[in-house]
């Protein structure tokens, strides 16, 4: 279980989508989230669907990973569908059973909204499935760079993010170690009433917090000793390269947007 959480959701593969610049992926996802609201009839939803599945196909992510990402939110999609179906009272009456009345518009809205949800989730999980967390951090740092003018600490935020990412597995390993040490001393983490189990977590959290603070302090000293003094005058080792494929992706999205505007009712 630990291992799974460590890797996060990134699935390594050699695909067109994997090779895209994280900046272009971030921009595409952001725009997609806006553009999807343009769709309001059958044809436009089909278009969005084609686009989404095309991207998924290009990413070569196995379906089971996509499904694993979808599973926790699937019930939410279903819930929105039912909510719309039962509570929209427009259009002609389709079905009636006692107090339950289902209208045509409700079914239509329900399907559309849950489709929208479905595509959004697929596209956003595509980002995390094909981009390593550190790439996302790099991408965000460069995209947010203009904010430095308004004194927003972009570099510091990015460094904080990358350090947290780097320490997640370390802290996981530590949690595991403390847990085993506590189990050896007779703490029971896995059975008993919820209240007892929550109590059992306390002897896990306290040593973890104490050591994290110690780590933070030592890390700060090590960073200083290695010459860290903020973002000023710093060069970057990681390089993002914007390629033709990135521009092409944005053009494709622009074409999609134009089509959606033309075809929407």
């Amino acid at each position: 279980m630990m291992e799974k959480m460590i890797i996060g959701r990134y699935v390594p593969a050699e695909s067109l989508v994997h090779r895209l610049d994280p900046r272009s992926k971030l921009i595409i996802i952001f725009l997609f989230v806006c553009v999807i609201f343009l769709a309001n009839n059958f044809l436009t939803y089909v278009l969005i669907g084609i686009y989404t599945f095309l991207m998924l196909g290009l990413s070569r992510i196995p379906v089971r990973f996509l499904y694993a990402g979808l599973k926790p939110v699937l019930w939410l999609v279903l819930f929105t569908l039912l909510l719309q179906v039962f509570f929209t009272k427009e259009g002609s009456l389709l079905y009636e059973l006692g107090p339950i009345k289902i209208y045509e518009e409700g079914v239509r809205q329900g399907i559309f909204i849950s489709m929208r949800f479905f595509f959004l989730i697929l596209m956003t999980s595509l980002l995390t499935l094909t981009t390593t967390p550190i790439e996302i951090t790099d991408g965000l740092e460069t995209l947010l760079n203009p904010l430095k003018k308004v004194r927003f600490p972009v570099h510091e935020m990015a460094l904080m993010m990358s350090i947290s990412l780097r320490f997640i597995p370390t802290l996981m390993q530590e949690t595991d170690k403390i847990m085993k040490a506590q189990i050896a001393r007779g703490v029971d983490f896995s059975s008993g009433p919820v209240k007892e189990r929550i109590k059992a977590v306390i002897p896990l959290l306290i040593p973890l917090f104490v050591s994290s603070f110690k780590r933070a302090e030592e890390l700060a000293i090590a960073m200083e000793a290695r010459g860290y003094r903020g973002g000023e005058g710093r060069t970057k080792y990681r390089l993002l390269s914007w390629k033709f494929a990135d521009t092409l992706q944005l053009i494709i999205l622009a074409v999609l947007t134009i089509l959606l505007i033309l075809l929407r009712s």
Binding site: I134, R166, P169, R215, E218, A225, G227, R234, T235, Y237
Partner: protein, 279 residues
């Protein structure tokens, strides 16, 4: 006269929340190309000395010169480039998400251009034999490997002095061997000055010179042979004498006179198996 690369003159230092001096009137020189071990019990001031050399703390009194530059608020960045430090905990000094990012961290801080950076990262990882792990994440590395990456990170900045601040104390014997071997080879190759701060006298036995610290003062200074002839005095200072020295002392107590103090187990074994033929 040997060239002094670091010199401490009448250095005294006191932590803010303590009323005792952590260092009191400390004077010593470190010479170019030597391996100096600073040993001492916990609280003897040996780690404080390391922090002062790197400008992580400033002494209240006295003067520290590193590579001919007087250490003060303005010169610390220049000095930190010349004087690299490897710390105790392998995990808590690993900043990057992968091996190459971590080595690059120090270079990024000093504003080294990217092309040069790529070359230096690869070059220094090759020197510590970690060049096959470029994209490895820290949690997949052993403690010894992480420390070697830390050494590469220091090396990339092309320092003239490396400080090992208890850098091997959290490692298993294999990792410890790897790290010390790496540093030794680098010292030979590049003429680096190595300052190893340790409480492990076995490690110190391999140094060119040892400084024993006690209660914030330099207690004794000398070659390993001279220091280890202190015997019981060292034990009183809370330091554990290496096994080979204990053995030769025990032999001597039994009336078997070995010719001198033996610093390594190998030397002792050699002396023992040739002992009879000498009689």
């Amino acid at each position: 006269m040997r060239e002094s690369v670091v010199s401490l003159k009448n250095v005294s230092f006191q932590y803010e929340d303590q009323n005792r001096y952590a260092l009191q009137n400390v004077n010593f020189d470190i010479y170019k190309g030597e391996w100096l071990a600073i040993v001492g019990h916990n609280g003897s001031g040996k780690s404080t000395t390391a922090k002062l050399l790197n400008g992580l703390q400033f002494p209240q009194q006295g003067e520290i010169m590193v590579c001919g530059i007087k250490l003060d608020e303005e010169s610390i960045w220049e000095i930190r480039k010349k004087l690299g430090m490897v710390f105790q905990n392998p995990d808590n000094q690993f900043v990057g998400t992968t091996v190459q990012d971590d080595v690059a961290f120090g270079l990024e801080n000093h504003g080294i251009p990217r092309d040069d950076m790529i070359f230096r990262v690869e070059d220094s990882l090759k020197k510590v034999k970690m060049d096959h792990f470029l994209n490895q994440e820290p949690h997949h590395l052993s403690g010894g490997q992480k420390q070697r990456v830390a050494i590469a990170g220091v090396l990339a900045l092309r320092p003239s002095i490396i400080i090992l601040d208890e850098a091997t104390s959290m490692l298993d014997p294999k990792g410890r061997g790897e790290v010390l071997e790496t540093v030794r080879a680098l010292k030979e190759e590049k003429g680096l000055t190595v300052i190893s701060i340790t409480h492990d006298l076995e490690e110190a036995a391999k140094a060119d010179r040892i400084i024993v610290m006690n209660q914030g003062e330099v207690y004794r200074e000398g070659s390993p042979e001279e220091i280890f002839s202190m015997d019981d005095e060292l034990v009183h200072l809370g330091l554990d004498i290496p096994f080979s020295i204990k053995m030769s002392n025990a032999f001597r107590a039994k009336g078997i006179n070995l010719s001198k103090h033996y610093l390594s187990e190998e030397e002792l074994v050699n002396e023992l198996w040739t002992y009879h033929s000498k009689i």
